[in-house]
Amino acid sequence: MKAKITDRLGWMASVALFALGLGAGAPPATAAEELRIGFLAPLTGPFAQIGKDMVNGFQLYLDEAGGNFAGAKVTLIVEDGEGKPPVNVRKAEKLIRQDKVQMFIGGLLASTGYALAPVSTRHKTVYVSSIAAADDLTQRDSDKYPLLIRTGWTSSQPSHPFGQWACEQGYKKIVTIAADYAFGYEVVGGFQKAFEDCGGKVIQKMWPPLGTKDFGPFIPAIKKDTDAIFTLMVGPMALQLPKQLKDSGNKKPVIGGGTSYDEYVLPSMGDEVLGHVSALQYSAAIDTPKNAAFVKKYREKYGKVPSYYSESNYTTAQWIHEALKKTGGKWPGPEKFVQVMSQIQLDAVRGPVRLDEMRNPVHTIYIKKVEKKKMHGYPNDELWNSVIKSYPDVGQFWKYGKADFLKQPVYSRDYPPCKYCE
């Protein structure tokens, strides 16, 4: 009988402890001069390295500013989104409810961007999408997300000038191989539209699944009369395809979306990618003093060349800093903050940047060729994305005009339709 009583006491004690634990999660009060920023990046799983690049970029700027944006003490709270949209949503909820952040930044995959945007609307919290490039966030759905600002890019944004560039090279027919998900559709869609509008023809579209390692089934199927091959690879896929293309004896020019040759994968690549051309809003090889200084600082601190993932978040931090300078270091409330951010003309590492009226950046798009050379005063020959042409002031609607562009559906697996495929 005595044993039973102690048992029951044990149960009660554990229930009481549980209750205490629940009560202990009291929210920290926000001081007037404190800026609380939540940061979502994949820190575990297949995208962990990219997540590290993202955080490092932001942290580098924050350290330079001494953790102080125009008088506001910045508290950065980093959460691991694991690269999964539902986890990102839960972590964003945690940042807002528990940590009382004024804004949250980040998200990697396009799908994560689509998942996080409604959270910002629901909780009236600013969301700065520094990487997630899902087109519709700042296009057809932008009305739904008034507190969303993009400091990165839309997936199809670099593809439009790139399509025109391909025409200028005299390419008439192109085959595309791209990762089978929203980001791939949007990058390829933008390229196809621009390329076909200037007289080119996309004659074949292939969609290997995200994470494909063996392109054996795809490479032999590439039509022989193509003038070039357009690729859009993400993560480890980017390493495999160029190797396997070379092994297959391919002699056609290879061009691709920015993530196929970004500095995140470039150091792991070999000579098989020499001469490949891609388009993005950043290259570590941009020859400006500002970029050279950034690359050196970053490389010294983290031991690797910054990727666009790093640059984009560095620039995001700079952007927020500029906004707070305008408000005198005070948090102006979410709506006002979005307004202030929208008016800033930023002299960023990637070049001049400003937001369009749908809060997406207008910036220079660089056409980049992989070359082996010395750069920024480093002694060894390394692979760099040399800029061969730049298109300044490129917005998300390219030359189509906002109204006309928004009339067409979002780029997808079936849009634009492949008119010249057989």
Partner: protein
Amino acid sequence: MKNRRNILIVIAALLALAIVTPYSSSYVITLITHALVFAILAMSLDLLLGYTGLPSLGQAAFLGMGAYLTAILAADYGFGLGWSFWVVIVLGMLLGAATAAFFGLFAIRATGVYFLMITLALGMCVWGLAYRWNSVTGGDNGINLPPRPEFGISLANDLTFFYVVFGFFVATLATLYVIVRSPFGRSLEGIRERELRMRILGYNTWLHKYIAYIIAGAFGGLAGVLWAQMNGLVSPEDVILTTSVDALLMVVLGGPGTLVGGAIGALVVTFLRDYLSTLVHWWQYVLGGVYVLTILYLPGGLIGIPARVRNWRARGKETSSSISLKEGRP
């Protein structure tokens, strides 16, 4: 006598949860709600794993069915945002049950590891549908739901939503409890212990297992409806194998064949995963360690701890008294 005591303890714990939750921070409230939704899924799986001896790795399929149904109805047809929420609950359970009825035709033939593999394959079929059927499921992007339903009470309020989920949790627990205590539940346990003997006794064991599978599917569907409303987002990531494995681990961790065990497992896993992960980056090691230790030292799950402690104390007393007896002898 012992049984009644256990029921009282469960009721006391539930009451405590209902009373304490409103006083915790808003993030903890959502965490508890999250855990309760998964507790429903875990308990539905426990009916299979713990009572019928069918280790299923496809429970996420039913969750996915309920969740996608809710999301598609709400986002595309604006249905289920008022009183019709209750209709969606029923539809979600029916869809879960129907899916199970279909899958069961293939799965119930198998036992043991083969059952595990076939349910895994069927679960992945649902994931494949969610991932590739772009026009309906939104593919990789998933579906964002409009704000939570409102019918006199607003489920957008986290505390209200917690009480609704809590209600469903209690109802599920009670229903499943009645089922496992019924003659039907007893025969399920018989099948778990020795199917051949049950068959010789004249039971249609296939039908028993099939019905248990359908019931599990229905409650899985219910968890799915609540899950969709909870997150405001349905993604193929919800339907992926990890979710099924999670449910299985929750049951094993808490204690299979107890119903409440699954709920305890869900609470522990949710808090370790979503709370600890915000504090330290090596939370996965802690979770792994808890799994390994539980399986090594507590094969009956966490719920076996009180019994273990009791045993250990009783044994401690016995040995000490026997030693003193021995010493007392010349």
